[in-house]
Amino acid sequence: MTARWLLALSLTMLGGCIQEKMEGAQPSIAAARAAQAFDMVPLAVGSVTAEPADAAFDRHINIRGSTMTPPTGRFSSYLHDVMITELRTNGHYDPGAPLILSAVLTENSATEDFKTGHGVEVATFRLTRGGKIVFERSIRAEVQWGSSFIGAIAIPAAFSTHASLSNTLVANLFANPEFRAAAARNQP
């Protein structure tokens, strides 16, 4: 019993809400691999918004009362930055390109049950050329992580893992066969 009280005391000392801001967009190996697998034309990046426009999931995610916010205030804005970063890193970004990639973020969540965490991000990506849609598809990214009863482990695990989802979303887009067909240099 004494041990339980001591454990509870330890956990209390480690409690408290965390307000964490994500790092700025960085390139990922997964997106680079997917981009290297086909000959992509340079793309411009258009608007990236959330649907609905005032969605709470666009502003933050919550785990056990702690909050993670994107560096520029909105996850849709962060996804915009990630799209540019991934394209630029792989030599496929051209702000003046006729083919424009845009997106609408439709889902963004993080949940956990003290053992396992689960993050989801979904966006509809669109490629347009001269105002005409040449590709439109909903792309999903999911990630799981080992969670814990102890908040000091569970919360940062959730935040650091969930923060990778926008990169995974772009990697999944680059790997999508229909996207590759629409963005390839030598289309059939």
Partner: protein, 215 residues
């Protein structure tokens, strides 16, 4: 531990903080100091092992620190400058750039931190027994190096494994590894030695005949 370190490698750091805080909550903190050891298997490159590249070329670097296989942006931000400094010391590449350039080779490095399962539970046990149950936890690191020298070329790959150990409630034990001052020094040494061995391995394969290089 420095402020930068507190933000970076967060999951690893919090596990250690958790253990130390548990001990502090029990009033046992001052009596049980944490010791950090860099695993001794890898070590520094011996002069006879170093591969010299006669015609270093520029390369685009893509470095990613992962936690249990998932990209960790904060840890990447912390570890990347250490990795770049270490790679530059090897003089295998004439220039490291993160920007793409036509025809430039691409060096991809993932450094995956695999924490030991149940480490926090071990910490509580050590605290609850006031150090009578000594603690040893290990952070393992698996790094994958891949060099793509051009479109259509076969990638050259090398893998390096390393580890950082932490003990509590134990005296110094040189058999565990190289004792370092703190976790920050330990992680920096782990990254430095990992990069040195990985880049040296790539240099050896770059110098080898094409048929053997991809193996």
């Amino acid at each position: 531990m420095s402020g930068i370190m507190l933000r970076a490698v967060r999951r690893t750091r919090l596990r250690r903080v958790l253990i130390v805080a548990a001990l502090a909550a029990l009033g046992a903190g001052p009596a049980i100091a944490a010791k950090f050891y860099v695993d001794g298997k890898l070590g520094n490159l011996k002069p006879s092992e170093i591969v010299t590249v006669s015609d270093p070329k520029p390369v685009q670097l893509l470095f990613e620190f992962q936690s249990s296989g998932v990209p960790n942006a904060k840890a990447t931000k912390y570890a990347k400058p250490i990795a770049i400094a270490s790679i530059n010391q090897r003089h295998v590449f004439s220039e490291l750039s993160e920007e793409a350039a036509p025809g430039r080779a691409v060096l991809t490095i993932s450094m995956n931190n695999i924490p030991e399962k149940g480490a926090a539970g071990k910490g509580f046990k050590t605290g609850l027994t006031f150090g009578l149950a000594p603690l040893k936890v290990t952070d393992s690191y698996v790094a994958h190096f891949e060099l793509l020298r051009g479109p259509g070329s076969a990638p050259i790959a090398c893998d390096v494994e390393h580890a950082l150990h932490m003990t509590m409630g134990k005296g110094e034990d040189p058999s565990i590894g190289v004792l370092v001052k703190n976790a920050t020094d330990g992680i920096q040494m782990v990254i430095d030695q990992t990069m040195a061995h990985g880049i040296n391995c790539l240099a050896g394969k770059m110098a080898a005949p094409p048929a053997a290089a991809g193996q």
